[in-house]
């Protein structure tokens, strides 16, 4: 005989959740009685007795003083003797298992609970979650793209530029490339994971590093801003991850869309804190996370070793740090380790590949013009990096952060397309990453005086008309439109998310709501702010699409012709590195300065 279930809102008004559960239970064949709101505790208990219910499910919107009300209900039911036969559960938006336990209920149904969970409870069975439902699959956003250049003249120019770069780098090497070769050939990740010595590797490696790194390998001296985690720290970290996984679900936040997938960055300096942030990001629907390393890491030849925390922004890249972070990730979480800008670019790609990253980030032009690395050095290292990215099957984005220095989009995009085309020629799979924000260019030129829509749409449209490649705007979207107010910051993130979704891009990176103004490590609540705001944006816009405005069309055409003109100049120059020095891809007036880190370190093999 079907069990009888009494459903009662212990609430003066709210009963919508119970109505939905009631419908589900009835459809599943159960005999249910739904009581109206605003009954007293005594009336509900009498109804449980009169109806001879086997199970009672209550709901309550929790507020101040409600705990005592519910505790009295449970006590009264217990003292009335009905709990000998009737099992009682509580549901509601703020109900958690700990609270239900304290209040004395048999089970709790908080946000996200399903009718199946209620049925399992009614039947007295343990509910086993279908983990496949909440488990994400790591998706390759480059799948299905051909990297064909659709614009005839630009295609010809990119071919020539690629040939020019490959010819120029032929036979050249650098300490960064040599370290990557060692890391690729002599550093056995499986032996390392098994705790076996890799002394042969380190004896050669130390000689290719700067003094500060060499001192670590030769004298055991750590970088002054780092400390090694203790065994106790590691034990606590593992316990933290294990606890986090107990209830962790990885919800999809795109509502009915499949893309854009959402990335969040981490890089507090402390891998332990990063991992806590990552677990929160996963719980609120982030599809991927991006590793940010310290700025000194880009200027220092070589990597330290060991599980290290850093007292300033940016989490140090070491094999141990990456391994611990990787181990904390849920299986479906995409993981990007950036390698785009510094003296360790090729080795970062190798480490990322060996330690299980899904993505990396490489851009010769940005690294040379906006991030301080000498153009010749980063051209040699960049080509090697792309080859390793292809070898380790790591798609990489080509970010145009030089736009943040003030370089106009068309120049930055010309550089991005050069690297993307080079990537395709070397068997790599690149992702175009234009800025999707209030950049210095538009502040000066006024394209965003009226709205943030048209120029961002123009950029995406322009890139799409040139190359069949995935687009991942960032990084993060809405940058420089956000102020210190978390509501404002979340709102602008939501709006940029909506625009990106309507433009059909493949991925976006979102900032936390305190990212620009945190004055220190960003906080988990502010990460949750923007993930929630992005989710609401997806829910609001669904699969609706936008039409390009007149300005967007015009600016898109101007960007395409600007790119063509820049590429003509590069080809005319006949030397890619010199083109970087000469400002063709962004000059001093734009805010781009050829970097000096690694000057004179390129040598013939």
């Amino acid at each position: 005989m079907a069990k009888k279930i009494l459903l009662a809102p212990v609430d003066p008004v709210h009963d919508i959740g119970l109505k939905m559960v009631n419908r589900g239970l009835r459809e599943a064949g159960y005999d249910t009685v739904l009581l109206p709101p605003d009954l007293s505790t005594e009336e509900i208990i009498q109804a449980i007795i009169d109806e001879k219910a086997d199970t009672a499910v209550l709901s309550r919107t929790l507020g101040y003083g409600v705990a005592n009300l519910l505790a009295r209900f449970v006590d009264l039911a217990d003292a009335a003797g009905i709990r000998e036969k009737v099992r009682i559960a509580i549901g509601g938006m703020a109900v958690r298992p700990e609270l239900a336990q304290e209040l004395g209920f048999d089970a709790s149904f908080g946000p996200g609970s399903t009718v199946e969970e209620t049925i399992a409870f009614v039947e007295g069975k343990e509910f086993i979650k279908d983990t496949n439902l909440s488990r994400k699959q790591a998706r390759d956003m480059t799948e299905g793209y051909s990297y064909k250049v659709k614009h005839g003249r630009i295609g010809e120019l990119l071919e020539k530029t690629t040939d020019m770069i490959l010819a120029w780098t032929e036979g050249k090497t650098s300490p960064g490339v040599e370290r990557a070769i060692l890391r690729d050939e002599l550093w056995d990740v499986n032996k390392w994971r098994g705790g076996q010595p890799t002394t042969g590797f380190f004896s050669e490696y130390a000689g290719l590093c700067d003094e500060i790194v060499r001192n670590y390998y030769e004298k055991g001296e750590l970088h002054p801003k780092t400390r090694r985690f203790t065994d106790k720290d590691v034990e606590k970290l593992r316990a933290h991850v294990e606890r986090s996984r107990v209830d962790l679900q990885t919800p999809s936040i795109q509502h009915t869309l499949k893309k854009p997938i959402i990335f969040n960055q981490y890089g507090t300096g402390c891998p332990y804190m990063d991992i806590a942030h990552i677990k929160a990001s996963e719980a609120y629907g982030a599809d991927g996370v991006v590793h940010f390393d310290p700025s000194w890491g880009a200027r220092t030849e070589g990597f330290f070793d060991g599980f290290l925390t850093h007292q300033e922004d940016g989490t140090v890249i070491t094999p141990d740090n990456l391994m611990h972070i990787c181990e904390s990730l849920e299986k479906g979480t995409l993981w990007q380790v950036r390698a785009h800008r510094g003296l360790n670019t090729p080795e970062t790609v190798v480490l990322a590949g060996k330690l299980g990253a899904h993505l990396t980030k490489i851009n010769i032009c940005y690294g040379s013009l906006g991030a301080g690395t000498e153009p010749a050095r980063l051209t040699v290292d960049g080509v090697a990096s792309i080859r390793y990215a292809a070898k380790y099957k790591l798609p990489f984005d080509v970010v145009t952060n030089e736009e943040l220095c003030g370089v106009p989009a068309y120049k930055a995009f010309a550089g991005m397309l050069i690297v993307a085309h080079l990537g395709a020629a070397l068997g790599g799979r690149s992702i175009l990453q234009p800025l999707f924000c209030y950049s210095p260019e538009v502040m000066i030129s006024g394209q965003m005086e009226d709205n943030y829509v048209d120029f961002n749409a123009a950029k995406i449209t322009a890139l799409r008309s040139i190359m069949d490649a995935p687009i991942w705007p960032g990084a993060p979207i809405g940058f420089l439109t956000q102020d210190e107010d978390r509501v404002q910051s979340s709102t602008t993130t939501a709006l940029h998310t909506g625009l990106a979704a309507m433009l059909g891009v493949d991925a976006i990176s979102i900032a936390s709501s305190d990212e620009a103004y945190s004055g220190g490590p960003i906080t988990v609540p502010s990460k949750v702010d923007t993930l929630r705001s992005a989710a609401e944006s997806f829910r609001f816009f669904g699969q609706s699409r936008m039409e390009l405005g007149r300005n967007a069309v015009q600016w898109s055409e101007e960007i395409v012709s600007g790119i063509e003109s820049v590429l003509e100049q590069v080809v005319e120059k006949g030397d890619f590195v010199q083109a970087l020095y000469d400002g063709i891809l962004g000059n001093r007036e734009d805010g781009a300065y050829p970097g000096r880190n690694g000057l004179n370190t390129v040598t013939q093999k």
């Binding site: 208990i45 009295r72 006590d75 003292a79 609270l99 004395g104 048999d106 606890r243």
Partner: protein, 341 residues
């Protein structure tokens, strides 16, 4: 010797149940080698309060103690257990398991949270041969505590910041908890719970026809007051409740106390089938104070000496401030009771 089961019941959240428990544990550690078991009808020993976000006292357990805890609580505990058995009880925090502490540490204590399941667990602990089982309470929940042999009641400013009101209410509560046992006499009728007018009418009819009415379930406050209103028709009758907790749950404490007083004065005897032994009251001057400007709570205190003095004067059992005085007093009462048990 039979296991002595001590319940620590509170009058509200943050009245000092866990602190009282810890003070007893400290005394047991110093004392005569008693074997101990612990469980809770709520969720205790967490780092931060589920509602206020303020730090909470943790429960520290030592090797050898038996505990009945939910699997999920163990995830948040640093103490390590040797598992003995599953208790056959499911809670919102997962299955309850019984284990022996093998590595000392902090314990999140979440056990059987209703009367029937508490009995199941207590029986299993007794079969494992412990001298004392302590059951930690939850909020102001009292019904499952009927399974304890004796109670310690924790009250304090978290229940009410006005000391005179709190003292008066504590006196009423202690009086109700110590309602005497009453034999049935003459013709006996019995009813389950009295929760509405129909239930009251049925009860009243039986009252008129019988000398003793045994009320096995609970009664609502308005309905209890209706008995008092008609007491003239019930002079000489015996009303026997299952236990004092059922009277405490009838409604607002002072009202229930007043109604019971009216019944007694009207010549109606009110008693219980199963008495509860109230060993002591512990008082806690702490309360979480809501900060309207910040939207959070901060710790605040009432005058602890005045609190202890006022409650001591209003209850007929020993009263202690275990933070100021330590646990010797409460433990002494517990041991005296054990000797007579």
């Amino acid at each position: 010797m039979k296991t002595l089961v001590i319940g620590i019941a509170g009058t509200a959240k943050n009245t000092g149940k866990t602190t009282t428990l810890s003070s007893i544990l400290k005394e047991i550690k110093k004392g005569p080698g008693l074997s101990l078991a612990l469980t809770s009808i709520g969720y205790d020993g967490e780092s931060f309060d589920n509602v206020t976000g303020l730090p909470k006292p943790r429960i520290h357990v030592r090797p050898g103690a038996l505990v009945a805890v939910s699997e999920r609580g163990l995830l948040f505990s640093s103490a390590k257990l040797e598992l003995i058995r599953e208790a056959g009880v499911m809670t919102p925090m997962g299955k309850v398991v019984i284990g022996r502490v093998v590595k000392q540490g902090k314990l999140v204590l979440a056990g059987p949270n209703n009367r029937r399941e508490l009995r199941l667990v207590l029986d299993q602990l007794e079969a494992l041969g412990v001298d004392i089982t302590i059951v930690d309470g939850a909020l102001s929940r009292i019904a499952p505590m009927v399974e304890a042999d004796a109670l310690v009641l924790s009250t304090g400013a978290s229940r009410c910041r006005e000391i005179p009101r709190l003292a008066e209410e504590s006196g009423c509560m202690a009086d109700i908890l110590t309602t005497p046992a009453l034999e049935s006499r003459g013709r006996v009728e019995q009813v389950a719970s009295i929760l509405n007018q129909a239930g009251f009418n049925a009860f009243f009819e039986k009252c008129l026809a019988a000398d003793t009415v045994r009320i096995q379930g609970v009664i609502g406050e308005k309905l209890l007051a209706m008995i008092a209103d008609r007491s003239a028709q019930l002079v000489g009758k015996h009303l026997v409740f299952g236990d004092p907790m059922k009277l405490l749950l009838a409604g607002e404490i002072k009202s229930v106390h007043r109604i019971l007083d009216t019944l007694e004065k009207g010549g109606i005897r009110v008693g219980v089938e199963k008495q509860v032994r109230l060993l002591a009251v512990t008082v806690n001057p702490y309360f979480p104070k809501y900060r309207y400007n910040k939207g959070d709570y901060e710790a605040d205190y009432v005058d602890k000496d005045e609190l202890l003095r006022s409650i001591t004067e209003s209850v007929r059992v020993p009263c202690f401030d275990v933070v100021a005085q330590g646990g010797q007093g409460v433990f002494g009462e517990l041991m005296r009771f054990r000797d007579s048990f």
